[in-house]
Homo-oligomer: 283 residues x 2
């Protein structure tokens, strides 16, 4: 997923950064397009310093993919960033989640492949760091949203916006009181760049601590897009975390970062993009 408004990406940081100023970057994207789209990358295809690899499988991506990238980083002496996830905390018993919390993950559940895959990717990163001195950075990304998200990827924000624009009922998974925290994509990109350019390996939580229940999110989208649509509560998947909220003390202290875009400011930017792609003009 990329930010439709690229300001956060290209805006230079307060102090000059050798990373951002380099003219010698090579960008290699590996994606299986499960929740993304090749269209988002169309402007870069053909660029001499851009390369695209289609790669598949949740656990295979996290393990074999991470191993391959660590091998490459070791060979060329590169710094490597793992975009890990709040899912490593599973259904957390500590709230909000700090980076030193070990998590509460079901190893054999229907959604375990993602959680356990990311955990073992973190393990591999630290093993290579300790054994080979590789410069690693680990971000634990909490729920993120913004323009260019896959319309039908099943994530809750894109679901609600697409449903509201189509005049369908918003499907809130039971019980509706489970909470998530949503970070706008430009804030996320800014946090990731600060982490990559800083001196701390992490793991560092990057996310917006503003906490909403799924029912509140549905109400907000309904109010914003179409007050006529209905909310219906549907069955949930097993092991869906009841609450998830980052403690971002570490990001504030070590990266000087905190999110700037509130949900009420970010949702209309996403709505605008979804309207264009779904062909639903504003009334």
């Amino acid at each position: 997923m990329a930010n439709g408004n690229h300001q956060a990406v290209i805006k230079p940081p307060p102090s000059p950064s050798p990373l951002r100023n380099s003219k010698f970057f090579q960008v290699i994207v590996a994606d299986n397009y499960f929740t993304g789209s090749k269209d988002n990358l169309s402007k870069w295809i053909g660029h001499p310093r851009f390369e695209l690899i289609r790669h598949v499988g949740t656990i295979k991506t996290n393990v074999i993919g991470t191993l391959n990238m660590l091998g490459l980083a070791k060979r060329v002496g590169a710094r490597i960033l793992l975009t890990s996830t709040s899912e490593v905390y599973g259904d957390p018993l500590v709230h909000p989640q700090t980076e030193d919390y070990w998590g509460n993950v079901n190893p054999i559940g229907v959604r375990s492949c993602y959680d356990e895959g990311k955990r073992v990717a973190e393990t591999l990163m630290f093993d290579y760091h300790r054994q080979h001195g590789i410069e690693i950075r680990i971000a634990r990304i909490f729920n993120t949203y913004g323009p260019r998200m896959n319309i039908d990827d099943g994530r809750v924000v894109s679901n609600f916006i697409a449903q509201a624009l189509r005049g369908e009922s918003l499907t809130v998974q039971a019980p509706g009181t489970q909470t998530r925290s949503f970070c706008y994509v430009s804030d996320m990109v800014d946090g990731l760049m600060r982490l990559m350019e800083g001196d701390n390996t992490g793991p560092i939580n990057v996310g917006n601590p503003g906490e909403f229940t799924m029912m509140e999110l549905a109400e907000t989208v309904k109010e914003l897009i179409d007050p006529e649509v209905k909310l219906v509560v549907t069955e949930n998947t097993p092991d869906d975390p009841r609450q998830r909220k980052p403690d971002i003390s570490k990001a504030k202290e070590l990266l000087g970062w905190e999110p700037k875009v509130s949900l009420r400011d970010g949702l209309p930017l996403m709505e605008e993009d979804f309207r264009r792609r779904l062909g639903v003009p504003k009334k």
Copy 2:
């Protein structure tokens, strides 16, 4: 590790078992010999239905190895057993550990590669079971000991016995109050065979619920082998679990299994084997 006394392996079960009676087994062993020895397999090398593969790496073994074996099981329609581990519980906050406990594992610690590797192997087993209908069996093995263990593999029982036989001080890792439960190898093999022949996927704990502190274990070995040796407390590795004890209700109920060999009966059998291999005859 194999049982020096093979009775538990070849003794037929109370009721006839198609698995044990089959004349058509092919045995393929994959081992990296990190904590085992090729010598233990020497009697089988050259057997027409035996094959040996040297395979390396902790996370690679658990992930790529498990993926490969699941692919093989899928292709030939075989039932597959994963020997998982009590380490999936990490430093448990529930005591004794039941199979539905999700564990407390540090994803980025120095000993995480084993724990997280086994957890993700369990995840893969259940994903293949759910997606491809493969018949899986998962045993969570707690500490096991017996003849033919690697003398210098760093496991606490082999360490203590080798040290006592060499007249060295027994090195107890601090604080010495951490507990483990030790299952004799013939009990373990019997449990694994019952699991493989039964109808339950698991995960099922297989281990001896008799709980000993490391200090008690050292005292027992000292008393058994050489009352003259000293006990010294040494620094511990980070994240060493404070206690570990299986709840074996599920194994009792579903497999009709419980361990028969006590630590006081099993240790002398291991001592005898270590004496022979170290060339230290009984006084």
